[in-house]
């Protein structure tokens, strides 16, 4: 009972952090989306690629803490693509980014009490 109570408190604390961190999370997502747009139009540069890589790294590192394990894995895949020239494919990245945004937005519409941590 005490353990369950402790876990509930932890989930509530994480929910508060999620609420305050959302703008930053969405800003990170936007950084990657801007890079993708520049890649698709042939105007990408190394600085924007590094910024996107850093954003993907941080998303991968943080999303799992808020019950978004699958989104974290998706962000890690994007980070890996950004690290390796031979795997950088705009079409694949666009697909991953769509999935990532959907997962984040789906969390938004959920009842926080139902967010499940594995």
């Amino acid at each position: 009972m005490a353990v369950r109570q402790g876990e509930d408190q932890v989930r509530a604390a994480l929910e508060k952090v999620w609420m305050t961190s959302k703008p930053e999370v969405l800003s990170r997502l936007a950084t990657i989306e801007r890079f993708l747009a520049s890649l698709e139009s042939g105007n990408s540069n190394n600085a924007s690629r590094l910024a996107a890589q850093s954003a993907a790294h941080r998303l991968s590192g943080s999303l799992g803490m808020f019950g978004l394990g699958e989104a974290s894995t998706c962000a890690a895949e994007i980070e890996s693509m950004l690290l390796h020239d031979d795997s950088l494919q705009a079409e694949k990245m666009a697909e991953l980014l769509r999935d990532l945004r959907n997962m984040i937005e789906r969390r938004e519409s959920q009842d926080p009490g139902r967010i499940v941590h594995p």
Partner: protein, 223 residues
């Protein structure tokens, strides 16, 4: 542990401020922990361990200016008496073993951050925390990881080991003691020790844990 307040002093090292805030919030749900500092890279983490002397260092693996395991190596080499727990998004069995060799006391995946407080409690009681459970000694962990790796690895090189020596290496990786090996193979403990000396000479390792890690990494663990 802080003698005045009995709180566990924790240093958080992660390059992402959101992660640091989340960890701090989790720890604050319990009155047992006090965050004494935050570091955004490995170099700063190593420096802050010396300055703040925390009971526990929560260390991310992938950080700028000295990755997590390198920071851990620097901290261990400096002789700091901190209990390090890795807090990471993903980690391989090989990295877990390397971290344990470097003195880490546990691994908590970020997606399982709800387990952070039980993990730190276990570590403060002198146990290890790996794969969501408390484990009393490192050999158990090696044994568990060896069993998992045995299903994935196929022996590729034997490093000049005889069939009997390879068999003994496999036992070591699974946490067996000399007496158990002797019983299993119907030989004397003295013979096991002789084999061990030959094995150490051939593979260039100097203790059982190193040998176990080596065996796992090179697929020498037999089913």
């Amino acid at each position: 542990m802080n003698q005045k307040s009995d709180t566990v002093r924790v240093l958080i090292a992660d390059d992402d401020p959101i992660v640091r805030q989340a960890v701090r919030s989790v720890l604050e749900t319990s009155g047992a922990f006090q965050v004494v500092g935050e570091a955004e890279d490995g170099q700063t983490a190593a420096e802050l361990v010396g300055r703040t002397q925390p009971d526990i260092l929560l260390l991310d693996l992938l950080m700028p200016n000295l990755p997590g395991l390198e920071a851990l190596r620097a901290i261990t080499t400096a002789g700091a008496e901190v209990r390090t727990v890795l807090l990471c998004s993903a980690i391989t069995a090989k990295q877990v073993l390397e971290a344990l060799q470097l003195g880490a006391r546990g691994v908590v995946l970020k997606r399982k951050v709800v387990e952070l407080i039980p993990a730190l409690d276990a570590v403060m009681r002198g146990q290890y925390w790996v794969e969501s459970r408390s484990i009393s000694n490192v050999v158990q962990i090696v044994q568990q990881l060896a069993a998992e790796n045995a299903q994935l690895s196929q022996p590729q090189r034997r490093f000049g080991l005889t069939a009997r020596e390879a068999e003994i290496v496999s036992f070591i990786a699974q946490g067996y003691m000399n007496r158990d090996i002797a019983n299993s193979l119907s030989i004397t403990e003295e013979t096991v020790k002789r084999h061990m000396t030959n094995i150490f000479n051939k593979v260039g390792m100097s203790n059982r844990l190193e040998l176990a890690v080596f065996a796992i990494e090179h697929g020498l663990v037999q089913k």
